[in-house]
């Protein structure tokens, strides 16, 4: 199959290249990234050497090629891990072509064979995507058909298996999604100032089962319905998903079904943006291998409804969605004080407030003595009851102001509550409910001041001062960062985090890090030297644990 595919691609690309010589020809785009780190033994951050790699040097890279010519496109990606860098999933070992596809569009029909990324609605039922920085990739390999059947009616169908590092998931996926833009169909809605889109999706997985003790369902179905309603500055999004019973390593092989609900309402007008959202997830782990764990072979995507922080200290305590069950709310407001107003000054001022809280859902566990029912149901949950274990909360305020043409600042205050038992140790609700005194938490106040000075044209000096104050976990930390950039090529940065509040005197360490970046158009080369703290690295709400390290690292990226 692979060989046939490559031949086909070659054949298709050659005439493509010939056409490209004409002025109306196809387009080839792509990118390349290479990362490497030479690790240094550092007894301060890693006294026993457990994180120090045998290889001393680890490097990995990939290149993507996408060729498009009118209604045709095709592409591939080559990946190489020699060996995979610390903090990435160890399943990435070796090299190969992990992604290749052909796609054509014709008469409202869009067909893809090979690898593809797709999602239904917000992804509660199905989302295949990649986040290369995290090593997350659950690309589908199979067939996808998209069709625009009638005005405003969009259908999608997918069939295939998901990527599992250099292999494929054992389970098959087959799904369909329909979206109807009612406003495109009925213009009467338009005249009422309403824009309304509804959708429904269905996804089924098949995985063979031959468990000696359990009769496992081989076919598991999930479905969802959604709506987006807009009127003037108001937008209301709602989505509900249901999943049939699916005993898995995640839920402890119980036969309970799962469900999820999200809703948010936003208002955006005249410099004011407000969004209020809520969600509830109950037993929504959905993988194309029932024995999968961590970030492997997830069929659906349950994004956290908390804010993603990018300042280094609050980013040490990021929230990750608890797929077995959670409920939460989020409120966010952004307001811009106008230019030349009293608070706005000459250039205006932006004020933001964000509050998010996530907790456990109500769970009434079946007694262990009742073995059969325990295995079948596990627990009962009442959606009207509140869960009692707080997982996370974040209350933050931000002010951004341009004072004059050469000075800007951002001031941020955060109050964080972080349940370490859940988010670091992955502890279930049951042991926490029976021993609430053993729950490890972290409460912190964080202040960040960021300033930007324009030294002269294209020369900028940026500083960050961060303070994370806490009695818990690793204790308080302070950080200072200085960056000097000369647009459009050079960028220099030096930073230090001082863990002055660590309860262990040997761990009151400094974490210095220096970097130089050179950018030339779409190519970027970065060289860094220093210590990195253990922590959780997140992109777009998905996180992975990163061990501490010390060394010289480089990164080269380019795109064409």
């Amino acid at each position: 199959m692979n060989r046939l595919f490559r031949r086909l691609l070659t054949l298709l690309l050659l005439p493509g290249a010939a056409i490209a010589q004409d002025s109306y020809g196809g387009q080839l785009h792509g990118n390349f990234q290479l990362d490497g780190q030479w690790y240094l033994r550092d007894e301060g951050i890693d006294p026993t050497g457990e994180f120090y790699p045998d290889e001393r040097f680890l490097g990995q890279g990939y290149a993507n090629f996408v060729y498009t010519d009118g209604d045709f496109s095709g592409g591939l990606r080559y990946e190489n891990y020699q060996n995979v860098m610390l903090g990435f999933p160890e399943g990435y070992r070796g090299e190969g072509i992990t992604y290749r596809y052909l796609q054509f569009k014709q008469d409202n029909l869009d067909v893809t064979v090979g690898s593809f990324y797709e999602q239904f609605g917000s992804g509660m039922v199905f989302r295949s995507y990649e986040e290369r920085g995290l090593g997350y990739d659950n690309a589908m390999d199979g067939v996808r058909v998209k069709a625009n059947l009638a005005k405003g009616v969009y259908l999608k169908g997918v069939l295939g298996r998901q990527r599992f590092y250099f292999e494929k998931s054992p389970g098959l996926l087959r799904g369909v999604d329909a979206e109807i833009n009612l406003s495109e169909r009925w213009h009467v809605l338009d005249s009422l100032g309403l824009r309304w889109t509804i959708g429904a999706s269905y996804m089924s997985k098949y995985q063979r089962a031959n468990d000696p003790f359990l009769v496992l369902p081989e076919n598991v179905a999930a479905g969802g319905v959604r709506s987006q309603l807009m009127k003037g500055p108001w937008v209301l999004n709602t989505e509900f998903a249901y999943k049939a019973n699916d005993p898995s390593a995640d839920n402890g092989y119980i036969y309970k079904d799962g469900n999820g609900f999200i809703a948010n309402l936003s208002y955006s007008k005249n410099g004011l943006g407000v969004i209020a959202g809520m969600k509830r997830i109950d037993n929504m782990s959905f993988r194309s291998d029932r024995n999968g764990s961590t970030i492997d072979m997830l069929v659906n995507y349950l994004s956290p409804t908390t804010e993603v922080h990018t300042y280094a200290l609050p980013a040490l305590y990021q929230y990750a969605t608890q797929i077995n069950g959670e409920e939460g709310i989020q409120l966010e407001a952004n307001y811009r004080f106008k230019r030349k107003s009293k608070l706005g000054g000459k250039y205006g001022m932006l004020v933001s407030i964000n509050y998010s809280a996530v907790q456990s859902i109500d769970k009434d566990y079946v007694a262990t003595s009742n073995d059969t029912l325990r295995t079948l149901q596990g627990y009962y949950s009442d959606p009207m009851e509140r869960g009692t274990i707080p997982y996370f909360h974040d209350l933050n305020f931000k002010i951004s102001k341009k004072v004059n043409s050469s000075f800007k600042y951002n001031l941020t205050y955060l109050n964080l509550h972080y349940n370490r038992s859940v988010l670091e140790d992955g502890l279930g609700d049951e042991p926490m409910l029976s021993n609430p005194e053993n729950i490890k938490t972290m409460d912190a106040d964080v202040i960040v001041l960021e300033t930007l000075f324009k030294v002269k044209s294209k020369h900028y000096l940026r500083n960050e001062f961060q303070l994370l104050s806490t009695q818990d976990d690793r204790g308080s930390m302070a950080m200072a960062l200085i960056e000097y950039s000369i647009a459009p090529h050079w960028f220099f940065s030096v930073q230090d985090i001082y863990n002055y509040g660590n309860p262990d005197p040997d761990q009151k360490l400094h974490y210095p890090l220096a970097s130089v970046v050179y950018t030339e158009g779409t190519s970027r080369f970065q060289l860094s030297y220093g210590r990195q703290q253990r922590g959780i690295f997140c992109v777009g709400g998905v996180c992975r644990v990163v061990p501490p390290s010390n060394g010289v690292s480089f990164s080269l990226t380019t795109s064409f």
Partner: protein, 167 residues
């Protein structure tokens, strides 16, 4: 395998020599309409396409810093700025409130499945492209450091005047 790389080398070489057009890709507008990126670019003057996400701080800095320049460039040269958000469907509901709060006057488009990002071979956001009135990609830049907005403004002005631009 050899054939494959030969094909790529030939394609790369020939395509690399000529100006690139945007690949036809469907995006969504903030009010839920599906549009083709090719129909969104200006034919009167240069178009700037900035890729961003609500969770990407350098992106927000870039779009904020460029906002003042964008107003001038639009007045003087008829330049158009498209801010393409790569937020997924869940986060894309945060796009409109954020845009309002930031006070940006850009045309906002949503690339929820990151199709355009992939078709253009973009690794990370922020990523900026400048197109001339013929719709050819004449300048690209990856990442953002303070001061890049000044450079971008110069590039757009040059493109509008029909001068050649270098990276």
């Amino acid at each position: 395998m050899k054939n494959l790389f030969a094909a790529f080398a030939v394609t790369l070489f020939t395509v690399g020599m000529q100006a690139q057009q945007l690949p036809s890709t469907t995006l969504k507008t903030l009010d839920g309409k599906r549009v083709d990126i090719k129909d969104q670019i200006s034919t009167e003057g240069p178009t700037v396409i900035g890729f961003w996400a609500t969770w990407c701080k350098p992106c927000i800095k870039e779009l904020t810093a460029f906002a003042d320049y964008a107003i001038d460039l639009e007045e003087e040269y008829g330049a158009k700025v498209l801010a393409v958000s790569i937020d997924d469907t869940r986060n894309s509901s945060r796009v409109a409130p954020m845009v309002q709060g930031q006070g940006w006057e850009y045309t906002i488009l949503l690339d929820e499945n990151q199709d355009l990002k992939r078709n253009l071979g973009i690794v990370n956001v922020p990523f900026t492209l400048v197109l001339n009135a013929e719709g050819e990609v004449v300048w690209k830049h990856s990442g953002y450091s303070p001061g890049d907005e000044e450079n971008l403004a110069e590039v757009v002005a040059k493109v509008a005047r029909g001068e050649s631009v270098e990276h």
